[in-house]
């Protein structure tokens, strides 16, 4: 069964901490994505990557960075966590760059910044 695995289901971090959210996929997909999900706002794209060492800004990249050193791993970094980054974070990967065949999502990481 193909999988996208997010390293943590729940995280609690303090304001100002540097936070790493890890995502690993075993489908040999080139395309990977990070979204945050908030009530009433739906899924908002933070960053995405179409290849190793490649990254592109999504719709809300401020306060975040990413790292893609290996094809299977895409990390989201909160440089200095703030309370407004409390959210559900979803990682996804896809076979095709244009989204055909859809995305496979991880289970999500619920981050609380206190």
């Amino acid at each position: 069964d193909v999988k996208v695995t997010q390293s943590s289901r729940y995280l609690v971090k303090r304001t100002g901490e540097k936070v790493f959210l890890e995502c690993v996929q075993d489908m040999d997909h080139e395309n990977m994505f990070w979204y945050r999900q908030d009530p009433g706002l739906g899924l908002r794209l933070i960053y995405f990557s179409y290849d190793v060492k490649m990254k592109e800004k999504g719709d809300i990249p401020e306060g975040y960075s990413v790292s893609r050193e290996k094809k299977e791993r895409f990390s989201l970094i909160l440089e200095s966590a703030s309370t407004n980054q409390t959210s559900m974070y979803l990682c996804a990967s896809s076979l095709e760059r244009d989204g055909r065949y859809g995305y496979t999502f991880g289970s999500g990481t619920r981050l609380t910044v206190v």
Binding site: V4, Q6, F33, G40, L41, G42, L43, L45, F48, L90, S94, R97, D98, G99, R100, Y101, G102, Y103, T104, F105, G106, S107, G108, R110
Partner: protein, 114 residues
Amino acid sequence: GESVGLHLPTLSVQEGDNSIINCAYSNSASDYFIWYKQESGKGPQFIIDIRSNMDKRQGQRVTVLLNKTVKHLSLQIAATQPGDSAVYFCAGTNGSSNTGKLIFGQGTTLQVKP
């Protein structure tokens, strides 16, 4: 800009009834659509997809209908069960083969009454 939107934020149905969840999109170049189901505390999971060269596609208890003339798609769930209670998202390609991404609707919460 491009959008994919769901018509109702919440839909409440009786167990055993059929459910219909609607979605509209704005980009006539969108040629692939997908429905996701997201249960509480989990990541979105693929339900069914459809390409723009089709009007209808059926799965197990689910049917997706696509009306390209009015840019509308719907998800029909037959004999709705308590396990169908979840948030349902539609998503569509943005029509770009090279830099395209899926565009997500905000989600409809389906509540199944016993």
